[in-house]
């Protein structure tokens, strides 16, 4: 269980998260959606202990403010929005960094397995810095996967925190990465993902938290959150939620009246 209560974050004088509470269950993919600058990344960073915040965050009943980095690393992996690299590591060496702590031990055979998983078999010996943005993003995902390879450990769920994991990817790889997250959740792990693409979110997420201006407008099953009214209010434009038997829920911005809400 992930439970964040009364999270408040300020940068200087500006408060960007106002008393936000958020919860996520293991075995589910929980998405955080909202417009640019609404505080999605900041909420995620508060929940992984990366920004100073008011309120408490408990992960598997551990207060993350008190836990040591290696204890947290054994419980959860974090994929940031972008990851620069200081030295010319190869792809395999970057992924192997995920193994350096604790639970996955020195299982080097996870490196090629994780690379194959993210569709980068054959990339092992390439230089990370010479890859495209989308390829780098998948290398980082492979690294995070090696860190928390088994979705549960001794019955306790492990967690993936993903910040816009598919924003740099083409549609084929978007589906691949979302499926990896889906599989992780289906195997008993917990996934919290900041998402940009509402249609992908509707396809893959069990739960959605909709954030706007540093507040949670709604959190619940995606059918309950993805309504014309809530989305239009959050994104300041008219959004239409459609459902067809063939493709499930999909959303369209109402082009003719964009900005009119």
């Amino acid at each position: 269980m992930l439970k964040a209560e009364n999270i408040t974050v300020s940068f200087g004088r500006r408060e960007v998260l106002h008393d936000v509470s958020f919860a996520a269950k293991p075995g589910a993919l929980t998405a955080i959606v909202g417009p640019n600058g609404s505080g999605k990344t900041t909420l995620l960073k508060a929940m992984i202990g990366e920004v100073a915040h008011g309120g408490t965050v408990r992960l598997n009943d551990v207060d993350i403010a008190r836990a040591k980095p290696w204890e947290l690393a054994a419980m959860r992996g974090v994929l940031p929005q972008a990851t620069p690299l200081a030295f010319p590591f190869t792809v395999a060496e970057v992924v192997r960094l995920g193994l350096m702590n604790g639970t996955s031990g020195g299982k080097t055979q996870l490196v090629p397995a994780a690379l194959a998983r993210v569709g980068l078999g054959g990339y092992a010996a390439r230089y990370y810095q010479e890859l495209s943005g989308g390829e780098q993003q998948r290398v980082q995902l492979a690294r995070v996967l090696t860190q928390v390879w088994e979705p549960t450990q001794d019955g306790a769920p492990r967690w993936l925190f993903l910040d816009e994991p598919v924003s740099a990817l083409d549609i084929g790889h978007q589906l691949l990465v979302m499926q990896i997250a889906r599989d992780f959740a289906d195997a008993g792990g917990g996934v919290v993902a900041v998402m940009h693409d509402l249609n992908l979110t509707a396809m893959y997420a069990d739960e959605v938290a909709l954030i706007s201006d540093g507040r949670v407008l709604a959190q619940g099953a995606s059918e309950a959150v993805f309504t014309d009214d809530l989305l239009s209010k959050a994104y300041h434009c008219r959004v239409q939620v459609n459902t067809t038997p063939r493709s499930g829920t999909f959303l369209l911005p109402h082009v003719a009246q964009a900005g009119a809400a």
């Binding site: 290696w70 974090v78 690299l85 200081a86 604790g102």
Partner: protein, 358 residues
């Protein structure tokens, strides 16, 4: 969507240079041994290492002259050149890992100057210390002061140039220039008020050389250098994690603050000791780690220890050249390293692979 979930053991190491880097350690040990023997064998006097070894093997007595040349001149000089080379190369590699930048060299960004400043303060003002304290420190006074100087410099540079876990090289270099100007000015004042004996010490010390090696110098430097080298296993993983940024390192389980503290102390100890006994010898800290990264990759588990070995060997070779090139006179080793390192540095700048965020 088909994933190849299983993998054979063979491709588990594809693209992973750690085995090669590990084996390189043994090669470098061999290289270092050869360089040390060469350094013991070569010198201005007629003493022959081989003749001496042969004499000892036969059970004959060494002449007093040979004993002095080998044990009191060449041996401390050899060991000190190796220790200083290892210290400079390791501190370069550590500093680059810490600053996440392959151009962060203690000489370049003013850490050596900070150490030099500490040494000058100790030499000129050391006499003003309470007698009990200066007696207790004894020969260690200059190295300890140099260590404090380089530690303060590193700390200030890191604070100034690192924002939100990212280091700006431009800020780092400019801060180094600023600090250098300040310490240079104060050093100037100190040199102005120094008496004749202190001036002689300062001149002798500032020449950038291992020529004046003695056992007492060697033993004052070695504890600090050894301490720095012994931290390698404790910070190598942390520096690897830091390559992805402080936040990512922490999420991988690294105690980032501890890694930074230990690395800064280790750099300061190594640079302080090296500068205290040899003046400033530049470029070792940038040339050695860079070559090793090109050859076997940037994994600090191997980079740091290989840097120690290659740095020691490189400085021994430079020292041998400095003794031979205008024999029987000697060229200061700092000049040799500058002639090798200067063009090398420009070459790094030209092919900037792996340098991000200039």
């Amino acid at each position: 969507m088909a994933y190849a979930g299983v993998s054979s053991a063979a491709d588990a190491t594809e693209g992973d240079r750690s085995q090669t880097a590990h084996r390189l350690t043994y090669v470098l040990l061999g290289v270092l041994a050869v360089a040390m023997l060469a350094s013991l064998a070569i010198g201005a006097s007629g003493t022959s290492l081989w003749q001496a070894l042969w004499d000892v093997a036969r059970g004959a007595e060494l002449s007093l002259r040979d004993r002095v040349v080998l044990f009191d001149i060449r041996l401390p000089r050899t060991l000190m050149a190796a220790a200083v080379g290892a210290a400079l190369a390791v501190s370069g590699a550590m500093m680059q890992g810490l600053f996440r930048n392959p151009l962060a060299d203690p000489g370049l960004i003013g850490v050596s100057a900070g150490a030099g400043f500490g040494a000058i303060v100790a030499i000129v003002l050391g006499g003003m210390l309470p007698l009990a304290l200066s007696d207790a420190l004894g020969y260690c006074l200059v190295p300890v002061a140099a260590f404090l100087g380089s530690w303060a410099t590193t700390l200030i540079l890191y604070r100034v140039s690192t924002r939100k876990g990212r280091t700006s090289v431009a800020t780092m270099l400019l801060a180094g220039i600023g600090l250098g100007a300040l310490t240079g000015a104060v050093s100037g004042i100190l040199i102005y008020i120094a008496d004749d004996a202190q001036l002689r010490t300062l001149t002798f010390w500032g020449m950038g050389s291992v020529a004046g090696a003695t056992w007492s110098k060697f033993w004052t430097a070695v504890p600090l250098i050894a301490a720095a080298i012994l931290t390698i296993p404790f910070i190598a993983r942390g520096l690897n994690g830091l390559a992805l940024g402080e936040a990512a390192a922490s999420h991988m389980g690294i105690d980032v603050q501890r890694t930074k503290n230990v690395a800064i102390l280790a750099v300061a100890a190594a640079v302080g000791a090296a500068v205290a006994v040899s003046g400033g010898i530049g470029f070792v800290g940038i040339v050695v780690p860079h070559l090793l990264r090109l050859a076997v990759g940037p994994d600090h588990t191997y980079l740091l220890r290989n840097s120690a070995l290659l740095g020691a060997a490189l400085l021994l070779v430079a020292d041998i050249i400095s003794r031979m090139i205008i024999a029987p006179a000697e060229l200061p080793i700092g000049i040799i390293m500058a002639v090798i390192g200067g063009p090398f540095f420009l070459w790094i700048l030209l092919r900037r692979r792996g340098i991000v965020d200039m």
